[in-house]
């Protein structure tokens, strides 16, 4: 007698994890929260509830990665970002599904947003070795000195991923993350708490793109836990508040800027929640997390 055969095959669910220091840990708290379909409210997955401690670990990882990543050649950074675009392209179907449920779109409407995210990575991949050429300067000082200004990465940037606007869940995330790392910064990203899946999956793309561990760290969880931790952390150099929506309270732009002022972090203020992430980005974000360094040297025999 043979065993009865069944037509049913169970899908293997993915355990979504944080992306910290190039690894995929669970939250140190061991806690998760339910992520649901934006349209139907159906349960989709359990996302790790990243904590303040997870955020601090991510900052450490980002700091550790900064020297190597900022010291890598711009060409190398461009190659890696392009590799990330290739990896994303290869997982187009998966991301289309995740974006669709995250933003309440049909697969047909979600797919072009994934394509746009791929293209955005390509756009920034091409920028890595051109930024210094548009943001730097040879300065004709009135004296016998060679004087050159070059842009350098600010350091560890805390990024609050977009929580709204057309294409926010993947394209928006890529649009804020890519310019940060293209210029040699490292990032700790607070993912959109209501739509973390494309972001958590992005870690898988980045992990297979030769991106050194710690350059990008992705934390899902409550913005009011993660963002204030980034804003008050003395080893974070800058904040991108793109996804901040709270008008008041610890996760409001005001409170976060006040906390950031303690160590004079550079702060990029929130994007309107209605921002259309498909619009051409321009160079604003690319040029934001840069420090201009000016080097003088005498010219003499």
């Amino acid at each position: 007698m043979s065993e009865p055969t069944s037509a049913l095959r169970l899908d293997v669910y993915k355990t979504y994890k944080l992306f910290v220091g190039g690894k995929f840990p669970r939250s140190e708290s061991g806690r998760v929260y339910e992520v649901t379909d934006r349209k139907t409210g159906e349960w989709l997955a359990n996302a790790p509830q990243g904590t303040r401690k997870d955020t601090r670990d991510a900052v450490s990882a980002a700091r550790k990665a900064f020297g190597g990543w900022s010291g890598a050649t711009a060409y190398n950074r461009g190659q890696i970002l392009y590799r990330a675009a290739e990896m994303l392209q290869g997982r187009r179907e998966q991301y289309t599904a995740e974006v669709a449920v995250s933003e309440g779109l049909t697969a047909k409407k979600a797919a072009p947003l994934v394509d746009a995210a791929v293209d955005r990575l390509v756009w920034y991949a091409g920028w890595t070795d051109k930024v210094a050429q548009i943001a730097g300067n040879a300065n004709p000082v009135a004296g016998p000195y060679f004087n050159l200004s070059t842009p350098e990465p600010t350091g560890v940037v805390g990024v609050v991923a977009p929580q709204g606007g057309h294409g926010f869940s993947l394209l928006g995330l890529v649009s804020v993350l890519a310019p940060v790392i293209a210029t040699g910064n490292t990032a700790v990203v607070a993912l959109a708490p209501g739509a973390p899946l494309p972001g958590l999956s992005l870690g898988e793309v980045l992990a297979t793109s030769d991106l050194p561990g710690g350059v990008v760290n992705l934390i899902s969880g409550r913005t009011e836990d993660i963002a204030p931790t980034l804003a008050s952390h003395a080893d974070v150099n800058a904040l991108d508040l793109a996804g901040i929506v709270a008008e008041e309270g610890p996760a409001s732009a005001k409170d976060l800027e006040v906390a950031a002022a303690d160590t004079l972090k550079r702060v990029l203020r929130p994007e309107p929640a209605s921002h259309d992430w498909t619009t051409a980005p321009g160079t604003d974000r690319l040029l934001t997390f840069l420090e201009t360094k000016t080097v003088w040297h005498p010219m003499g025999m």
């Binding site: 004296g143 016998p144 000195y145 005498p298 010219m299 003499g300 025999m301």
Partner: protein, 328 residues
Amino acid sequence: MSSSPLSTSGLAASGLAEVASSEASLRRFLHGLPGIDAVGLQARAAGLGTRSIKTTAKAYAIDLAISMIDLTTLEGADTPGKVRSLCQKAKNPDPGNPDVPHTAAVCVYPDMVPFAKEALGGAPINVAAVATAFPSGRAGLPVKLADTAEAVAAGADEVDMVIDRGAFLSGRYLEIYELIAEIRKACERPDGTAAHLKVIFETGELVTYDNIRRASWLAMLAGADFIKTSTGKVTVNATPANTLVLMEAVRDFREATGIQVGVKPAGGIRTTKDAMKYLVMVNEILGDDWLTPDWFRFGASSLLNDLLMQRQKLASGRYSGPDYVTVD
């Protein structure tokens, strides 16, 4: 001028005596000297040049400058008459003013030394002779030695020799070291004394400040009593910056060996204002020990009249003019 015997013990004690034991070690030493940043050096010289020297300080500095002049004539057209006239000026620069100091020396070609000695008589003014195929230095060693011997025999108190810039620029440092040492010997007199040896680098032909620093140390190691910038015969002569290099060298050399060496900028120093800048440098780089004609000289000719006019102005309050100083 006091003629301090060369203290080789200082060199030995400093460990520098062995430096010239071979071309390789001499080169290693000279190229191991700290580099000079040209822009920084020039800025320092220019900064000292902004010192404002007024009233009593100016009066002091004018007289000091006059007393430091090697009053010079080095022309193909020089004659005994011209040299005699120069010597009178050296002894008594401002005929109406006996309190004006005399110059330190007159500086002439070797064949003019006897006329200068005669004209100066017993005046406490040295006769300096340029020698060693001045100004180019392009002659064989026997010629240079004979040139020197002639000057010393004729009574020169000081010999201003030139180094072989060609040898220097092609890196033959030991050859220059030996040349200086040979000339030094030729400066010796039968009575055991010696004419003071000033070594001219022709800084304008060495071009870089690093070269000028190396030349300074090379000359001091070989026994120079004075180091001197220029012949006055090329486009770039003494400048505050290249003289500053010489001053730093003598300062550091004394620090290392205990041996004091004099400095003489020459050529292109024409005005009181120029002279003040050099004296300010002596004052602030070297200090009191060098603020004397024994250790600092100006190689100049027209400078003297400008100093005299400025001196008259200080005394009378009126600006003087060229008709009130002598043309020599």
